[in-house]
């Protein structure tokens, strides 16, 4: 992950705090101000803003010589970039595909893709994807009776 100077982190935190505070002001006030829905999150917003300013001030006080952001080492290696990106891609693909394809088909697809992205041989990728999907199906669906999304393969199994 990108390593950034505390100046940037501080700006982001202060921005988040101000956003939380501003949004809290739009909540309807009921009863005394201290028990209204806006009081507590408003306070959190103010403290976060103060923390953000504190981080910026502390960074300037230390007179940081490091750049505002440092390029992480993994971005220089294509294999690592693919491995890192495969994590969010796997989550998104599972989230979007599983309601229609069902658990087993999506799991096979995602696991195979992940293993290939992590540079595992095709044969091993197929074997591990099949074994893990079957194991997860047995644990979650058969043993714990979790209603994971059903699809074509689950239809064949019934």
């Amino acid at each position: 992950m990108l390593k950034v100077s505390d100046v940037w982190s501080g700006l982001a935190v202060a921005g988040l705090g101000l956003g939380i505070f501003a949004r809290a002001q739009s909540f309807v006030t009921v009863g005394a101000p201290a028990v209204s829905p806006s009081f507590y999150p408003g306070l959190i917003g103010l403290v976060l803003t103060a923390c953000g300013i504190g981080l910026i001030v502390a960074a300037f006080r230390r007179a940081e010589v490091r750049p505002l952001a440092e390029m992480p080492g993994w971005l220089k290696r294509p294999g690592n970039i693919v491995a890192v990106l495969s994590v969010p891609v796997a989550i998104v693909v599972y989230g979007l595909a599983s309601p229609d394809l069902g658990f087993l088909a999506t799991s096979l697809l995602v696991m195979f893709g992940l293993l290939v992205a992590f540079r595992v041989s095709l044969l091993w990728s197929v074997a591990v994807a099949v074994l893990l999907s079957a194991l997860l199906y047995v644990v979650f669906v058969v043993l714990m009776r979790v209603p994971l999304p059903a699809g074509v393969i689950e239809g064949w199994l019934r």
Binding site: M1, P41, R77, V87, A90, L132
Partner: protein, 494 residues
């Protein structure tokens, strides 16, 4: 509390099977460099969702005790701590291994962990019910201050930068405000999304912050291969017994430090290991030997980090305030199971609490045979292909997060918080205060709002009761004394 009934519950075949399986899982995760005990507990949560309370909590207790010990194994074999709790003495342990004393150091790790774990468990068993009796008289005022003290200690103790700890804590508190307001029922920060009306799913948040963030980190360093580990030879257990006997007072000191730090919110096994090692060196007759492959500090620290686990359950069970990030997960599990951690849990769910005590003892006794097995198999575990292991853990995390609510939305939460957690850790923001904030956020707001309504807006009511006043003084002392000391030192210097 009926201990006989608790023993019967724990020794039911299905519960025992779950405990042994989670022990093996904990040993495996702990042995893998970079995978933490908290991650092991977070990965177990989706499974515990479908279990009864006793096996559910038993699984987490056993898994965390095993993984804290197992973290010592790659430390001695490869100089890489399996979990951060072993980091303090990893260099010492490795050098002992290089001197041909691998069996001795692993034996000390194992026996020290079991002794420490049992010590922490005994303190938990005797201290928690006594404290709970006192806490039964607490009102919302006392809970408000207790929650603030817990959050403050977590912020100040767990990180090198209190400001970054405070930031992480308030981000966690903010996440806890998302959803319907407890008093008015008004949606806050939901941006019209129905999935957010019930708040941020705690399990998804835990999986995101502890598992997905860790997977991002590991994926970024996937090319870094581990060196081939040594094979442990000969009888392991007797090799360290003499060292434990020789440094028995050090082990006892480590147990005491670990248990105390465990009770302190925010300071878990990681910090316990460091402090016990430092104290051991400070009071050693041969401090010059530390850092050259000397067993003394390893005895203290091995006992200390496991002792902290039992200690952390004291504030978690008695006040509902987690002692470390693992007990933050346990509180989440208890809430999901319909139990309300706090003094009433001892009266309303006394059998379950007794069963938790029994599990603590059992887990630390199981540590010896299963730990020996883990030491024997260490070489095989450490050569498992990370390129296969990481996708397997990711798939398990995805399915686990999805399975709890059968909600695709929870996957977006694990992804978002995984990225946030990765960014924060890389930039020096600790995750533990954020999780404590997420868990305690509602307690703070509800106790504050209830107190304000009861007091009719009169703020002096918060300090009127003797215990509430004392707790308020402790809270302000935590925040004011360190800067005052710093100021006094600066004035003295100038």
């Amino acid at each position: 509390m009926n201990f006989l009934h608790a023993i019967q519950t724990v020794f039911e075949p299905s519960t025992l099977l779950i405990i042994v399986a989670s022990a093996l899982f904990g040993l495996f995760v702990g042995s893998m460099p970079g995978l933490t005990a908290t991650m092991a507990a977070a990965l177990l949560v989706p499974l515990t969702f479908y279990m009864d309370p006793v096996p559910a909590i038993g699984a987490i207790v056993t898994c965390s005790a095993m993984s804290i010990f197992a973290g010592d194994i790659p430390g001695a074999l490869l100089r890489i701590p399996g979990t951060p709790a072993s980091a303090a003495y990893v260099s010492e342990a490795y050098q002992l291994g290089r001197k041909g004393e691998l069996s001795k150091v692993l034996s000390v790790n194992l026996i020290g962990s079991a002794v420490g774990g049992l010590f922490g468990a005994v303190v938990l068993i005797f201290l928690a019910p006594q404290l709970a009796r006192v806490a039964l008289n607490f009102s919302s005022y006392e809970y408000f201050w207790l929650a603030l003290i817990g959050l403050s200690a977590a912020t100040l103790v767990s990180t090198a930068s209190p400001l970054k700890g405070l930031t992480a804590l308030f981000i966690g508190l903010f996440l806890a405000t998302i959803g319907l307001d407890v008093v008015t029922g008004m949606p806050r920060y939901t941006f019209g999304l129905i999935d957010l009306m019930g708040g941020v799913s705690l399990i998804a948040a835990l999986i995101g912050l502890f598992a997905i963030a860790e997977l991002f980190r590991k994926a970024a360093t996937i090319d870094e291969n581990l060196p081939p580990p040594e094979q442990v030879r000969g009888a392991v257990l007797p090799a360290g017994l003499s060292a434990i006997v020789q440094y028995r007072w050090g082990a006892l000191r480590g147990c005491t430090i670990g248990t105390f730090l465990g009770i302190l919110p925010g300071a878990g096994a990681d910090i316990a290991g460091w402090i016990a090692y430092a104290v051991s060196r400070r009071f050693s007759r041969t401090p010059e030997k530390f850092g050259t492959g000397h067993i003394e500090g390893v005895v203290d620290a091995s006992a200390s980090n496991n002792a902290s686990l039992g200690g952390a359950y004291v504030p978690a069970l008695v006040f509902g305030i987690p002692g470390d990030s693992i007990t933050a997960i346990v509180i989440g599990v208890l809430l999901i199971k319909g139990m309300n951690p706090g003094p009433t849990v001892f009266t309303q769910s006394g059998d379950i609490v007794s069963a938790i005590f029994v599990v603590f003892i059992l887990a630390n006794l199981l540590l010896i045979p299963l730990g020996l097995l883990a030491i024997r198999l260490a070489r095989n575990v450490l050569t498992i292909n990370q390129r296969i292991l990481l996708p397997v853990i990711l798939m398990f995390s995805i399915v686990g997060a999805f399975a709890v609510n059968n909600a695709v939305f929870d996957l977006w939460i694990i992804l978002a918080l995984g990225i946030v957690g990765w960014f924060m850790e890389e930039n020096g923001f600790p995750i533990a205060p954020m999780v404590l904030g997420l868990v305690l956020g509602k307690v703070v707001e509800e106790s504050f709002t209830n107190s304000m309504i009861k007091a009719g807006g009169n703020l002096t009511a918060f300090v009127d009761r003797p215990v509430a006043g004392t707790l308020a003084a402790v809270f302000f002392a935590i925040w004011l004394i360190p800067p005052l000391i710093r100021l006094a030192r600066r004035v003295r210097r100038t």
